[in-house]
């Protein structure tokens, strides 16, 4: 009979090894899945994980894409991880991302066609504000009424998507767009564009913000009292109250920060790689970031690695779609399985497996 015995200390070694184990397991099962779809398994895995980085034919194009795809994931995931550590589940980051993009783009377009250096910073601030405000809705409802933030933040994603559709064809519609829905293209408006800082690396302002966020999160979580309070709230709420932590403040802080970061990610995306506000502007980064947060063990440095890995699966997935006709949805499944395997292998970090009778 197999039993699980709680460890006295969570195993340090396994905490770092389990994500790797999860990735390997996913690759194996993923390979099986591809074989079932009639695609050569080893080649598929190679195309997804190896080629975008090292294959001379594609790497020059796809390597910069890595940072482009990873930056919003990491930025959002950093914000989410702080909340998750406190037991505050912001599932609606996708909605905050959209609102940040709408508000930020709106701010930029309001200035069109002026050319002031202040425009872009203002857009960033407005984007952060938009995401922050959208996250304040579940935050205030939770602190005031005790309403569950999971469902509220999630419902607001659908509301945000409706708003996105509305403004694409309405308030933000491009007057020179010949009647097509969608805003003016921000990439073509230099003062508002989030352009590449170093050519061919994919590094735009969003990537910079991402690095700053990572460093900031690391310092706060390990060295600052607020970070300690956040960890305390998640691990032992009664002890947190005993220590004098105000649970409402933690809720508002965590949701606010994750909302702001998601909103900023939305702005960087709409002013950068996406270029314009359209009905289908959002591509699920807010949800994938949840996987990134868990895969990175809610640790800032882990999140960077996890974000890069996820970005790799996106790019590799696109490549596989092109080269092998692999359906796009299989990558979504792949990412979901990664989360599942991580959760499964996580048990070994906290529990020891024992054989025999009780």
């Amino acid at each position: 009979m197999i039993r699980l015995e709680k460890r006295l200390h969570p195993s340090r070694a396994l905490t770092s090894l389990t994500p790797i184990l999860a990735v390997i397991l996913t690759m194996i099962i993923g390979g099986v899945m591809f074989a079932l779809l009639g695609k050569p398994p080893l080649e598929s895995i190679r195309i997804i994980f190896w080629d975008p980085l090292f294959n001379p034919q594609f790497a020059a194009y796809s390597r910069p894409q890595l940072l482009v795809k990873a930056a919003p994931l990491i930025l959002i995931a950093i914000g989410l991880s702080i909340g998750f550590r406190a037991g505050i589940w912001n599932i609606g980051a996708e909605g905050q991302y959209i609102m940040g993009a709408i508000c930020g783009a709106g701010m930029g377009l309001a200035f069109y066609p002026a050319d002031l250096f202040i425009i872009f910073p203002l857009m960033v601030i407005t984007g952060a504000f938009g995401g922050w405000a959208w996250a304040m809705i579940p935050a205030l409802l939770k602190t005031r009424f005790g309403t569950n933030e999971i469902l509220v933040s999630l419902m607001l994603v659908y509301v945000a998507e409706s708003l996105l559709a509305s403004v694409s064809s309405g308030v933000l519609k491009n007057p020179d767009g010949m009647g097509f829905p969608g805003s003016r293209n921000l990439q073509q408006y230099p003062a508002a564009a989030n352009s590449e800082l170093i050519a061919n690396t994919g590094m735009h302002w969003g990537v910079v913000a991402c690095f700053i966020a990572v460093i900031f999160a690391y310092v706060v979580l390990t060295r600052h009292l607020q970070g300690f309070h956040i960890r305390l709230t998640g691990q032992a709420p009664r002890a947190a109250r005993f220590a004098g932590v105000n649970p409402h403040r933690v809720t508002i802080l965590c949701l606010g920060v994750s909302g702001a970061l998601a909103g900023m990610a939305g702005l960087f995306e709409v002013a950068g790689p996406a270029g314009q506000i359209t009905i289908d502007f959002n591509t699920g980064y807010g949800f994938t970031a949840i996987i990134v947060a868990f895969l990175g063990r809610l640790h800032p440095l882990g999140i960077v690695l996890a974000g890069l890995l996820m970005a790799l699966t996106y790019i590799g997935g696109e490549l596989a779609q092109l080269m092998l006709g692999l359906p796009g949805a299989s990558i979504q499944l792949f990412q979901g399985m990664l989360l599942f395997f991580l959760l499964a292998t996580d048990v070994f970090t906290h529990y020891r497996v024992r054989f025999g009778e009780a």
Binding site: L8, H224, R231, R238, F242, G244
Partner: protein, 504 residues
């Protein structure tokens, strides 16, 4: 001697790092009231878990009514006629008494019949219960009745009771003992686990004493003095903590009409509590669990805010101050729940010091944590309070109950509080650690601090406190000097709203 009902021979059970039971022999006769005596950690719980089928012995044999007895699970034990009332009840708060009892039975009759049976049996044995009441609304004593009735409805031959009186008022203890005597007279044997010597001498025919997992002797409690029993339990001469005469200073704390609503559906409201504590004084607050102890500590620690003037410390109204602010005024507290409230199970001892020491000891500068200083403090506590642990990096949950409690109390004491409030300071703690903690509290008072000790252990309170009061359903009785206080006076003080009449 009555015919043997249950016999254990050479029973051994070991866990990693500790031998819980070492070659234990035990004999219980039909209709006997047999005590299993030992201090915390002696192995009593493990032994009865084996009798009840929750745990399998590594070696040894058990015999029930002459047949080999090795229950694979509690269901088999119940089928064989063994029933158990645990110290921690297995009850479902949101369900009714009848539903709770039905869940504890193998094949319960239809609800209506069951309700009738419950009424009959509960009245026969003097433990009246209304089958339709929600269990969460019952007092601790009434909840125990549900557990007992649940067992009795199965007509057990052996009833095991684990520390049954820890949650009862003196009156309820009398009722329980009357019931147990009735059961014994009717032929049901009772295996009574306790560390309360006076009770065992009152009700038990025979006693088996366990110490560190071994059976160290039998005796007839009625023929043995409490002192001898205690020495058999602990193995060495008892030393009571030293009480030096203390200087009592000025009033440090005033509780003025402190009232708070119940924190949740199953909590207790605080009602008009008045109390005065002077520097150097130790006030003891007794009372069975569930009468407002947690709530009182929360009001004093600052976790729950009351009106500003209801708590006045050294002239300052602090009733609405949060915990951090109170700590900077040197008001400290130690809650009852070690893991989850006083300390975080998965965090190291170093991190656990931050929970209550943020305002002092230079550990925080501009919001940034000075980890080396925190480690230094943790090591200080470990050293001063003899906390047995590999080091300050050990997690809180890796410590034994006694050692963690020493750490938690030590953490507060080493911050030189002017007022320290502790809730159940030695609950579930082995005797040596308990004595050390009580000594630490006395020493703290001697150095001029004021102490409030909330405890269910009346012996403890009488040992170290100067004044004694009782919490009953959220109200605090007047405090009386401990000197000369008698048990029946205490019983009256604790009686209050839930005093029940014993049947004739």
């Amino acid at each position: 001697m009555t015919q043997t009902l249950l016999s254990l021979d050479g029973v051994t059970k070991a866990y990693p790092g500790v031998v819980a039971n070492d070659d234990v022999a035990l004999q219980v006769g039909h209709g006997d009231v047999h005590a299993l005596l030992g201090e915390n950690g002696a192995g009593k719980s493990t032994l009865v878990k084996m009798i009840y089928g929750l745990v399998k012995p590594d070696s040894g044999t058990m015999t029930l009514m002459g047949h080999p007895y090795a229950p694979p699970e509690p269901r088999a034990a119940r089928a064989a006629g063994v029933a158990m009332v645990f110290q921690h009840f297995s009850l479902f708060n949101a369900l009714s008494v009848a539903e709770n009892i039905a869940l504890g039975m193998e094949a319960p009759p239809a609800q209506r019949d069951l309700a009738a049976q419950i009424k009959t049996v509960s009245e026969t044995y003097g433990l009246p219960l209304d089958p339709y009441r929600t269990v969460g609304n019952l007092s601790a004593g009434e909840r125990q009745r549900v557990e007992i009735i649940r067992c009795l409805l199965q007509n057990p031959k052996l009833l095991i009771m684990d520390e049954p009186t820890s949650v009862l008022t003196p009156q309820e203890v009398d009722i329980l003992f009357t019931t147990l005597k009735k059961l014994s007279a009717a032929g049901t044997a009772i295996l009574y686990i306790s560390h309360k010597l006076d009770e065992i001498r009152q009700i038990c025919d025979r006693a088996t004493i366990l110490r560190r997992g071994k059976n160290v002797g039998y005796c007839r409690p009625a023929e043995t003095t409490a002192r001898d029993l205690a020495e058999m339990m602990v193995g060495s001469s008892f030393t009571s903590p030293t009480r030096k005469p203390r200087e009592i200073g000025d009033v440090v704390l005033h509780l003025n009409d402190l009232s708070l609503p119940a924190p949740s559906a199953f909590g207790t409201a605080l009602k008009h509590i008045n109390l005065t504590v002077k520097a150097g004084e130790i006030i003891g607050i007794g009372g069975v669990a569930g009468n407002g102890q947690d709530e009182l500590l929360s009001a004093l620690s600052g976790e729950v805010k009351a009106t500003a003037d209801s708590v006045v410390f050294n002239g300052t109204s602090i009733g609405d101050h949060p915990p951090g602010q109170r700590r900077s005024l040197r008001v400290f507290s130690a809650p009852e729940e070690r893991l989850g409230h006083a300390a975080v199970p998965d965090m190291s001892l170093v991190e656990n010091t931050l929970i209550s020491t943020t305002s002092q000891k230079d550990m925080i500068r501009n919001g940034f944590i000075n980890w080396p200083k925190a480690r230094e403090f943790a090591e200080q506590v470990i050293e001063a309070f003899d906390v047995r642990t590999p080091g300050a990096s050990s997690t809180a949950q890796s410590l034994s109950g006694g050692n963690l409690q020493k750490f938690v109390i030590g953490r507060e004491v080493l911050q030189a509080p002017q007022l320290l409030v502790v809730n159940q300071p030695t609950w579930g703690v082995d005797a040596a650690a308990a004595a050390a903690i009580r000594q630490a509290l006395l020493d703290l008072a001697y150095s001029g601090a004021a102490l409030i000790v909330i405890s269910q252990d009346l012996d403890e309170l009488l040992e170290i406190c100067d004044y004694f009061g009782v919490l009953n359903a959220g109200s605090l009785s007047d405090t009386r000097p401990v000197e000369g206080l008698k048990m029946d006076q205490i019983g009256l003080m604790m009686g209050g709203a839930d005093s029940a009449e014993a049947p004739q």
